[in-house]
Symmetry: C2
Subunit: 331 residues, 2 copies
């Protein structure tokens, strides 16, 4: 049985071109495992498919409207019912598709998915996690990175469970190490919410390693690090800014003179290799965990390769029944 | 009138050697502007001073006890009254010295300073800020980085005022740009506390630029970024871990073979220069803002150069009457 993936072809910054190229790359790689449905403006999509020589195998579902980055997430349910985002998620809700993939407005995808598909039984709040590269090469999932702020302790405990299931099934880790992002090791440390969450997490049937500090995210010693979406989003955005910070520093160094320019030209290939796994495009987007339906969200600037990775990720998440495992874990 | 600075000679990891070398370097540079007092075990300090050829100009105040990294901050007031930390801070309280400098247990210094010296009138909570390097080269002060968690909105507004005074007087910036660390631009974004703090900060007579995101700390566009000590400490520790993350990535690359080793050897000088301003040792420690007395806290691993910078920073903070300006700003 192929996995039916709906791709929001209008979502990203370079839509629909990157989406179509990414979709075709995924189809080529996955063959009969994947049934791909493109949702968006038929008149824009069909010619591009034809141009790529695709006459069958990829279905288009027409949706005349598009959600923009300026749309208030809560308004889409009422005002954008003909958007590719809404139409695509409704297909998942109605079991006409198994997964939805989009590079668009993250808040919009999340709000609409939660309202249309509902939460998995037992989930207090759906969450979005993001993988971080680490010293050891083994990525760490930081969760929540912005779905919820002012999380109650129970929400944090649920993020821990969902993150544990996800990394166990998707990365093949037997007993994922799960930590709570905090400001010190002792369980008396941190905010009131962190202390309460610590107690809840201690009682979960997972490999809870206790508090971890800001310096432990990149260490590679933890598979899942749990936090509220407030600090999670701040850390994620800070981390994303580091690459451009380094590039700017290197650029200014090169500007000092011809010798410096030559030195920088010499080191560029080394740095590219070293910093490659800070390239978030490789990770195949991030899952929205806790909704009844598989939803993968990516950066708006996703390349065709990144989009293909997101589709492949969606197929894996369906095949490994991550949502079923989450529901059982939360019983 | 020389500024009287008490240096906790027993505080750091390499005490008292680094402290003495740093102290002598500062004395050499500042001459009559500085009156340096070393506090610690006379029997350990005197021989080292003699060895360095110092017979006058640096005074020793004896303190037989030392606060360790394991001491609970709240216990020092009762149990370590003969420690260099307590004795030194008591000298500031009693106006026998103008400033206290220490590379020791940050929590201990902060708790003891607050209890012994008290808060500047109008300050809700003293705070510790940390400078971050930025794209433009102009550092950004992130405040609070761990003095307080679960800050109320009024505390955040006070951090803004204190940070603004500090950067204005110490960095010579006419109208420091002050932002609130948050998860989006709109003032409806963020936690309940952040939203309330936003409103308070809008009403302050400072150049409040609104919300700034995690990616804006390294941008160089803001002089002060305000946050609760919880996310501040997490971001600070995350940032500190980046250098060792990069070094590890480079090391693993070099391990691949002889060509890679040569490439890394070639790029090492460039990287050292580029990354030099991520060297926190250059910044001269961080001020504890809001206590009645000038207190500069540094890393335990501070080098003699870093300690000299901390002493110089203390002298400047006294000379520019930062505390007087803070009190007036909070009236």
């Amino acid at each position: 049985m192929p996995v039916r993936v709906v791709l929001d072809a209008m979502g990203g910054d370079h839509a629909p071109r990157n989406e179509i190229l990414g979709a075709l790359a995924a189809c080529k790689e996955l063959g009969g495992e994947l049934e791909l449905i493109l949702v968006g403006r038929q008149k824009e999509l069909q010619p591009l498919l034809t141009k790529e020589g695709v006459t069958s195998g990829v279905r288009i579902v027409h949706a005349p409207d598009v959600v923009t980055m300026d749309d208030e997430p809560s308004s889409i349910i009422k005002q954008r019912q003909n958007s590719s985002l809404y139409v695509g998620l409704a297909m998942v809700r109605d079991h006409q598709a198994d997964a939805f993939v989009s590079g668009g407005n993250t808040g919009a995808v999340m709000a609409t998915a939660t309202m249309l598909c509902g939460r998995i039984k037992g989930v207090s709040r759906p969450t979005i996690g993001s993988f971080f590269p680490t010293k050891t090469g083994r990525p760490t999932l930081l969760v929540d990175v912005g779905a919820n702020v002012d999380s109650k302790p129970k929400y944090l405990a649920d993020y821990a469970v969902m993150g544990e299931v996800y990394t166990r099934l998707m990365l093949g880790i037997e007993r994922p190490r799960v930590g709570l992002l905090n400001v010190g090791e002792e369980d008396t440390k941190g905010t009131e919410v962190a202390r309460a969450a610590h107690e809840l997490m201690k009682a979960l049937p997972i490999n809870f390693v206790g508090n971890v500090e800001g310096r432990d995210i990149l260490s590679g010693e933890n598979d899942v690090v749990v936090c509220d979406g407030f600090e999670g989003n701040i850390v994620l955005k800070f981390a994303e800014s580091i690459l451009s910070f380094l590039k700017e520093k290197i650029r200014r160094y090169a500007d000092r003179g011809i010798l410096q320019k030559l030195a920088v030209a010499a080191i560029a290939p080394v740095l590219r290799t070293v910093l490659r796994d800070m390239d978030y495009q490789e990770y195949g987007g991030v899952p929205l965990l806790g909704v009844n339906g598989v939803v993968i969200i990516g950066h708006g600037s996703s390349s065709p390769k990144a989009i293909a990775n997101m589709i492949k990720r969606a197929v894996e998440v369906v095949q490994r029944d991550v949502n079923g495992h989450i529901e059982r874990a939360l019983q």
